[in-house]
Symmetry: C2
Subunit: 434 residues, 2 copies
């Protein structure tokens, strides 16, 4: 199945009507942005871009799609014919994947005819909204963990394909691995995992289960010690695996207290090198609360893949400029109450002072001159229909992770407070003198 019907019906009816009125081939600029960050957030993290570029390449109307549109009279026959030849031939620039965003940041700019560009609205927003929601939550968890490694384990708490995207978004924001195998295969992300409670319960005793696991996976494995009593589980784990046991995992209980007790017990048993990993419904706040506890790594699920309270990023896809019937560019904006937009093509830069971000400066209509205190934020992603392959696939995912690490390093310290607050830098619009 292709991606062309992952689309709201109104995009096709708009196309249909625009073909009728002769406006469908007007050159247009659409932009993707969020009007505001979620209330508690000081910055957001762009993710999904690399996935989106591949999905746009697959955005074609094949026989199955065309037949369905025709049979259901979604659009007129001449529009079905137009769709048969469709592929996106325009250009897309945007924030690099892994980049930070703030209110109004134009994270994607789509140049193309109205017809070509309007069709990509839903797919673009689905990908960027979800993936950015996960990456934005993940980045907060990474900073709350203060350098301790985090593993994404939330596949079971989001749709089965979103799970793969979530693993990828978390990796870009600094998680080190995922439990999701398809994310390993598709995106080159390291995968981790050893055993669930069912493995212990399957065996005639906890000891038999631990022995089976150590026999198969070696003593460096991670044993899950809370199926019954944790202290007994830890004692048994070291007895079976020896002091070379890799790690124990704790998935329940009052973690700060529990973790300290387990650390002391492991040390007293001589398993001083055995690590402790915790996985009990963590979010950025509980991770921060464990800073003083001797945790070695975190596994995070539900809160991560649901954006930790903000499961959608609020991104919208808006027409900001187009050529009119005389061929002149016209800036456009809607005036809807509470949802007004800013017309005109944007040229965003991150304003820096001594290497620290101080503002998201968005020039409207004309680009600023190159300037060492302003980092340009738009990169060419698709040129005349062809995507820059550097941003795609496993290599693109790895590149996004590197870019994120560099971009977040520019933020002032205030960005990393977990409490509710304003965006850590303001968004300033600047209009050229025209």
């Amino acid at each position: 199945m292709g991606t062309a019907l992952l689309t709201d019906r109104y995009e096709l009816t708009m196309l249909d009507a625009a073909i009728g009125s002769g406006t469908h081939d007007r050159e247009c600029v659409f932009e993707v942005f969020t009007r505001r960050l979620p209330s508690s957030r000081r910055y957001g993290v762009v993710a999904g871009t690399g996935r989106l570029l591949s999905l746009i390449e697959e955005f074609r109307f094949g026989d199955a799609e065309l037949g369905w549109l025709r049979d259901n009279a979604v659009v007129r026959p001449e529009t079905v014919d137009w769709l048969a030849d469709y592929s996106f031939t325009g250009s897309i620039s945007g924030y690099r994947e892994g980049e930070l965003f703030f209110a109004g940041s134009p994270i994607l700019v789509i140049d193309g005819s109205f017809a070509e560009a309007v069709l990509l609205e839903t797919l673009t927003l689905s990908v960027l909204n979800y993936d950015s929601a996960v990456a934005s939550a993940a980045a907060r968890m990474v900073s709350a963990a203060s350098g301790r490694p985090l593993v994404e384990m939330g596949s079971r708490r989001t749709g089965e394909r979103s799970a793969v995207a979530a693993a990828r978004a978390a990796f870009i924001a600094g998680f080190i691995a995922t439990s999701n195998l398809e994310a390993g295969r598709s995106w080159g992300i390291p995968t981790m995992g050893t055993a669930a409670h069912s493995f212990t319960l399957l065996h005639d005793s906890e000891e038999a289960a631990f022995q089976a696991q150590v026999d198969a996976l070696g003593p460096a494995t991670t044993l899950l010690v809370d199926t019954n009593d944790i202290a007994s589980g830890v004692e048994l784990a070291v007895r079976v695996a020896g002091t070379a046991l890799g790690a124990v995992r704790i998935d329940s209980g009052d973690l700060p207290v529990q973790v300290a007790a387990v650390r002391a017990q492991l040390d007293s048993l001589g398993a001083t090198g055995t690590r402790i990993t915790v996985t009990n419904d963590l979010d950025e706040y509980t991770i921060a609360s464990l800073r003083a506890a001797p945790v070695d790594s975190y596994g995070v699920g539900t809160s991560l893949v649901t954006g930790s309270g903000h499961p959608a990023s609020g991104m919208v896809y808006k027409l900001v400029s187009h050529r009119d019937s005389a061929g002149n560019w016209v800036n456009v904006e809607k005036k809807s109450a509470g949802k007004a937009t800013v017309g005109g093509r944007k040229f965003p830069v991150r304003s820096l002072s001594n290497g620290v971000a101080v503002a998201e400066t968005i020039y409207v209509d004309s680009a600023p001159d190159a300037n060492s205190s302003e980092r340009t934020l738009l990169a060419d992603l698709v040129t005349a229909g062809t995507a820059d392959q550097r941003y795609i696939g496993a290599a693109g995912t790895a590149l996004a992770r590197i870019h994120h690490a560099s971009a977040i390093n520019e933020l002032p310290d205030d960005a990393f407070r977990l409490s509710r607050g304003e965006p850590v830098i303001p968004t300033d619009y600047r209009r050229g003198i025209t």
Copy 2:
């Protein structure tokens, strides 16, 4: 791409170790349930079952998957060979899709060898958790709308494939249509949609845009009237389309006030049959707040596809019974703090009094005798590896919608209060005399 790698790595490492210890072919019973409903909720709605049955049929390890597992040494070579022959040959019973669930309801019961059944954990939970979260939110919106039709429009606010599942889950819970075209094609759900603000902004005037839309789609279309001033938009819409205009859509502003004003204006213009549809960030609470306003239909997006505050359902997949080395059945349960489970195979019924639900009664270990005041909740979904085709595809989706309408009709009136509260019926466990 198949579905076999939409799986957490630990399922394969458990399989690997169980093959090593000779426990992999022990007969097992796994159950899917949620420990508690989200705090504000009085009932939940099962969704995803029909999708899951198809995804389980596609759960095979092909050359690409096997090669990746081998190359990455996820499991030992003999386990890779075992996976090459895998298909699920066990049996699955469960709550009918569209059925209601409460704390502890065993919505899916998987019978099979440990090896066969453990592999389905992640896929099963991904599907049931997400789809049920959406259906549970959707059902509340349907009751808040008091009979007015609701359309699902949230594709852009969730992952691109989750969007299709969300449209389906909302339809099962009583929504009448979706904006998502793939949901129309895959699941036979009616699709709706006409135009966005970009269509108005593309044209040289709002009048030209309305005229283009009416020319293409006829006067029975829905015109979006809030790109500029709503009163001017409504006046123009009726002038262009005539009093046979199908509907106007309002996507911004203070809806109760706005809607009443638009209704009065439409009536004064003679457009007494023109309907009003609203689409401005609705959830069950804002829908309920519009009960007194002359709204004709609602379009719902973000809050629906993100489960209205509860984006994951909390479903877990737990081993409850298995045969031991002597071939005897052993009930098992974990004792982890706050996460203890109830061992033993469950036989759930909905206890009714005069046709009204009074309890979720869960018999443990043995089924009750047939009883007119207890509706049996488990249906045979998969028998010896073969799914009941009635529950699959578009026909299965339609059947689930019918079943939901019937099941929800059994709930006491208290179920439909939107305020926070306890589950509307208690869950009672009953153990047979053994």
